[in-house]
Symmetry: C2
Subunit: 247 residues, 2 copies
Amino acid sequence: MKARSGEAQASERVDPFSICRISSSVKELDKSGVLFMEGDPAQHVYVVKSGLCFSFRYHEDGRRQIIDLAFPGDFVGLEALTQEQFVSGLSALTPAELVAYPVDDFTQRCYAEAALSRTLVECIAREQVILTKRLVGVAHSSASQRIAHFLLEVRVRALTASELHPVGAGAENHCLLSDCGAFTLNLPQAVIADTLGLSIVHVSRTLSKLKDDGLIEDSPAGLRYMNVDGLKAVAQWEGLAPWFEAS
Amino acid sequence: MKARSGEAQASERVDPFSICRISSSVKELDKSGVLFMEGDPAQHVYVVKSGLCFSFRYHEDGRRQIIDLAFPGDFVGLEALTQEQFVSGLSALTPAELVAYPVDDFTQRCYAEAALSRTLVECIAREQVILTKRLVGVAHSSASQRIAHFLLEVRVRALTASELHPVGAGAENHCLLSDCGAFTLNLPQAVIADTLGLSIVHVSRTLSKLKDDGLIEDSPAGLRYMNVDGLKAVAQWEGLAPWFEAS
DNA sequence: CGTAGCCTTGACCGACGTCAATGATGGTGG
DNA sequence: CCACCATCATTGACGTCGGTCAAGGCTACG
């Protein structure tokens, strides 16, 4: 088997649940529940089993920066592998389940099975690419670009996640919903704002503009994507990352 | 040996050169030389042996985002492990040497030696923490905060790197210089601007303000840090990361 | 001496934040 | 069924941070 996954399709992604043979327990979170906070002792590594979560940090001035969303199948709290304390918190946007693996077991297993290390490296590398993209975006893009990009990113990741983990996706119930043809997203604007480093007010204004342009629309279920290609144009979309399907 | 490194001092950091047993070659770069560009086929993983490098990406509008500086001892181009192409370019700020390891050898060795995988995971995780910090900073801080933070970050990383790799540090010659007591930094303002997502003009203005406040000073060798504590106050400095010495 | 980098400074302007008021929605208890 | 409150979204007025443009200075180098 070839180790490099550059040419991998989404369907070939390693399955994070493959590590389930090691001792594990499941944590359940309510909506807005907090699994751990920045600074908490880091004794477990987690995989999101169902629901939608996000990792975040607080800035000294009290503002929250959302580092990344975490979809079913995503690793979370990997900092535990290299540090005593979490450097970011983790909270849930919807009721969620996470599988917890004690760091020590996990580490030992890494030593025992190079393939697991490998999986890990790939997961982290994937995450890193998303982060650098976001970094470039936050630094250099206008609010509408950032927001359009964010909307597209969430869509792709949600679709990918639900393909891979149709069972426990769960996020559809509350936040995401891919109905006939059109994708619909229901997130508090505060989440978008804190992810992209914008104010809620400006997010609202920018979304209104996107609505005026017919790219999205309000619906009872949330934001409805009316014109994905239009969004891509605004976002100057180049795809999320090589290993995600273009779609 | 305990695998977790949260409690590690700088002196206990894993030595990236420990992988030198696998086939490798040294690449030399001139000042401003480019090792690879975004999109190039990724066939090697590198470790900076001497000099100062940086990884970057171009935004669609042509602006350059510097992702991170790379000091002697730092891994570079780790994307090669998981992707066919580099997602960022790498260039040198000073004449530099980099050790190149073919990905395939590297990968095989990862399978053979879990400890190497482990080292890798730690390096990437470390990098990730820096990235998330930068993300928070770029999104929520004022120019003077960002710049002060950047100055401090470079100082710590340069000091750490030169402790670990006193031989091949090399960066001192051109960019960094820790003379009697005061640290001195000589970087083009364009580098600071592109790292922090600011315009050169504004970097200049902000540095002038810091000079007015007596925190830094021009010197023939570059910027001289006159008041590190003052800088820390401006930057709301909380340390770079747990594994770096406070200093 | 002329040219090329790099830095500085001023004038101007736009994007985005803040503050504040107003609506919509939905859950809870009377 | 309605009153009440909490949460979230919208909208306007206004200020500011930082970008852009343009001009000029300083060194280094041929």
